[in-house]
């Protein structure tokens, strides 16, 4: 059986998978409808990434090489994006890299503004990055790291089969909605309080029970019976 592979112009933004896991509507507003509003959090994120995202910087620290702003793609997931940092660690079980002596194992590190989240929105993004690297270099990667700026610590992430399955199903769903151009209705939740798009989304509007047609009819009939 041949595996589904996406074409170049079908690829979706990898970073969208974290939006999608957080809220499908938020993802659709950003990636289908192209609505985006910066708020404090996203701006802080930009500042953090400005330092991380220098593609020309390559550092070497003994047996570790650090590559920044690493371009990624997976035609199986249909996602493309950029990893903040990919570390290469010298290892006998590694692969050879163009222009480098020896064998290396790959280890992505994703920089995050805040602290670890209660849901898997960061995990699915990092796991998708891992799956891109695996496909690009034909390797197996069993773990990756977050660096959370708020707690100033690295958090280790084990890439489990469950997490991989979640990424595959989320990516499939994203492609399905994108193809149909559908923005799912809002699910009002705690998340809305932290959403930079809440003013664009207006979650209570999609759940609104008042029909716009009835609203118009009512105002017209009120106007027609009302005396000045």
């Amino acid at each position: 059986m041949t595996e589904k592979r996406y074409a170049e112009d079908e690829l979706l933004s990898l970073s969208g998978i974290q939006h999608f896991r957080f809220c499908k509507r938020q993802w659709a507003l950003i990636h289908i409808e192209r609505q985006w509003e910066d708020n404090l959090r996203t701006t802080e994120g930009h500042f953090l990434h400005e330092r991380v995202d220098d593609p020309f910087l390559r550092e070497s620290r003994g047996d570790v090489m650090i590559s920044r702003a690493f371009p990624l793609v997976s035609y199986r997931l249909g996602l493309y994006g950029v990893a903040d940092v990919v570390e290469y660690v010298r290892s006998e079980n590694g692969v050879s890299l163009p222009g480098c002596d020896g064998l290396w194992k790959m280890h992505p590190v994703e920089y995050k503004r805040g602290k670890p989240k209660i849901d898997e929105r960061d995990e699915v993004q990092l796991c998708a990055q891992v799956m891109c690297l695996e496909e690009m270099f034909d390797v197996h990667i069993s773990s990756a790291d977050f660096y959370y700026n708020e707690i100033r610590r690295r958090i280790h992430l084990k890439i489990t089969e469950e997490l991989r399955d979640l990424v595959i199903s989320l990516a499939g769903e994203m492609h399905d909605l994108f193809k149909k151009g559908i923005t799912p209705p809002a699910e009002r939740s705690q998340n809305c309080r932290f959403c930079s798009l809440v003013d664009v989304c207006v979650p209570k509007l999609t759940k609104k029970s008042v029909s716009a047609r009835k609203y118009v009819t009512k105002h017209v009939s009120d106007a027609c019976v009302g005396d000045l």
């Binding site: 409808e33 192209r34 664009v200 207006v202 509007l205 609104k208 017209v220 106007a223 000045l228």
Partner: protein, 343 residues
Amino acid sequence: MKKLLNTLYVTTPESYLLREGENVVIKINNVEKFRIPIHNLEGIVCFGYMGASPQLMRLCTDNNVGLSFLTPHGKFLGRVHGRIRGNVLLRRTQYRKADNEEESLDLARCFIIGKIVNCRTVLGRSIRDHGDVIDLDKIRFIDSLLIENLQSIDSCLNSDSLRGIEGNCARFYFGVLDELILKQKDDFFITQRNRRPPLDNMNALLSFLYTLLAHDVESALETVGLDPYVGFFHTDRPGRPSLALDMMEELRPFMADRLALNMVNLRQICGKDFFRKENGGVIMTDDGRKEILAAWQKRKQDKITHPYLNEKISVGLLPYVQAMLLARYLRGDIDGYPPFFMN
């Protein structure tokens, strides 16, 4: 709800706008006169010719700040905007609906219903506030005509007959608006609407407020990703922002007419703020324009409860809210377009 940011109106013709860091800086004869961080702004409107630096234009497009250039008299010259925002699928839905006569008519009805109901409310408000000094019979008669037309909207079968209804109502309404001008009757009167050029002070005042409103509505439509040039009531005409004009119909009485009447009745503006040219056309003086802009800005800060959303918003956000509601309808989130009805 989205925050209402300020619009910067630059009225001194010798002003040059440039960028310093994240700030908009205004210089006159190379001397700095004013500076404001870009993130406090929603739009910049220049009534002058000196211009703006390309760096500043970039700052505006990066921050989604509309930058428009108008003649000192408020005639629109052009605007700088960045990449087309929003969703191409939404715009295609808009075009498809605009091409479909039945669906266009359905939407056009909503805009005109909003307009007529709000015109009635303007008349009603004056009766409530000043019933003892105005010609009640005349206003009530006109109002009965407005109601008659309003009732016939449902049964009108094509856009031409809807245009007929709209034309009638506008004529009735402007025919009686003079009754609502209570002070400075020698300087301010209106018998009919005229605009190219406006032939009296009141028409000049209304024209200028409509220009300001048009600017805000056009920006709002672009913000939500709609094409301001493809309308449902106003048909396509190159250079005419038909959808912005559609949406203005329901907003004019509340946002512009009411404000014009208040400014005259409260003597916030007076006869010497206008100037009659040899051809009979009336233009505004610099002072007059400043007064109107100040009143417009102040009015936009007022809070109202939106009757459909049932949420408190500032008057200045109305164009944005209506644009958002229209986008929601086109996307199928709500079952119709709810126009704004003033109370």
